[in-house]
Symmetry: D3
Subunit: 66 residues, 6 copies
C-alpha cells in the first residue's frame, strides 16, 4: 500500500541503480512496517540540475564550483 | 481550488486521453464536492517505466515478463 | 498502477464523499486508459485553509470576504 | 497557473507567517515569470518532526542535540 | 541532495519505526548512488485510511472486510 | 530544512529565471521563518501543456484560444 517518491538530480543513474532503489525501499517497508510489497508503489523523479536548488543555488552552478 | 496530480507510466497516453482525464477529474470534483472548476488544477506526470516500481520490480521488467 | 493525489481544503468532506472521489478517479483511469484498478492508488490530502493560498491570499481570508 | 508546495516542519509557524509565504511566493512568480496570481495555487504542508529526517536522523532528535 | 517522500496509511507507525525508515532510505541512497546523507531529506506522510484508496475502495473499508 | 516544489507549465523558463525562483523562495523562507538556506531544497517541475489542465481544459487548448 505505501507510495514512495524519490527525487534525485538527473546525473546518470542507470536502470540497474534505479532497480536497486525500488527493491531496497520496498524491502525496507516490509522489514520495518511489514507492508505488502505487491501494492507498494515507488516512483523516481530525475530532476534537471537547473531545476534543483540548495542553499539558493542551482545544482548546475554548485557542480561547476566543485 | 483543488489540485490533483495523476502519475501514470509513460506508455503512450494521447493528448486526447489526457484531456479526458483532466475533464473527468474536474467534473468529478464538481459533482462530489461542488468545487469551482475555474480554479481546479490538474497535472499529469508520465513516468518512465524504469522509474516506476511495484512489488519491488521496475515496470520495464514486469512488461517483459507479461 | 497509477497514483493519484487529490489535494482539497479541509472543509468537511465526508467519508462517503471521499469514497466517491476514490471510486470515481479509479473508474476514470479504467475508462480512459484501461488501467488495472487493483493497483491504482488514490490519496486525498485535506489542507487547512490557512495553509492554502490562491491569488496570494489564504483561503481562510477569502472565505471571510465571501 | 503555477502550483507551489512548501513543506516545513511543524514548529509553530503562525497564520500570519503562512500568509507571508503564500504572498511572497505568488509575487515571486509574477516578478520572475509574469504568472497570473489569480490561478497561482500555494499549499503549505507542516510535517511532524518525527516524520522529517535529514542526514538519516529525525528532526526531533536533531532538535534535542542542538 | 535527494528528497524522498514516503506515504503510508496512518495505522500506528512508532517514532522508532519512522526513524528506521529515514535511516534506511538515507543509507540506501548512499549505497546505490553515493549520495551525501547530510543533504538527503526524507519526509513521511501518514494518511488517514478514509483518505487512501486502492482498487477504488477506501482502506477503512478494506480493513473491515479483512 | 524546508522542501519547496514549484510546478510550472513548460513554456520556456530560462536557467536564469529558474535560478531567480530558487534564490527568491530560499530567501523568503529565511526572511519569514528564519530557515537555514544550506538545507533548503527547491525543485522545479516543468509540465507539458498537454499535461496541465485548469477549468477542465488542457493549457495547450487554452493557449490556442487566447
Amino acid at each position: 500500500m505505501p507510495y514512495v517518491n524519490i527525487k534525485i538530480t538527473k546525473e546518470g543513474a542507470t536502470a540497474e541503480q534505479k532497480q536497486q532503489l525500488i527493491q531496497g525501499v520496498t524491502q525496507l517497508l516490509v522489514d520495518v512496517l511489514n507492508k505488502n510489497p505487491a501494492t507498494t508503489v515507488v516512483t523516481i523523479d530525475e530532476v534537471d540540475t537547473d531545476n534543483w536548488g540548495i542553499g539558493g543555488v542551482q545544482v548546475t552552478e554548485l557542480r561547476k564550483n566543485k
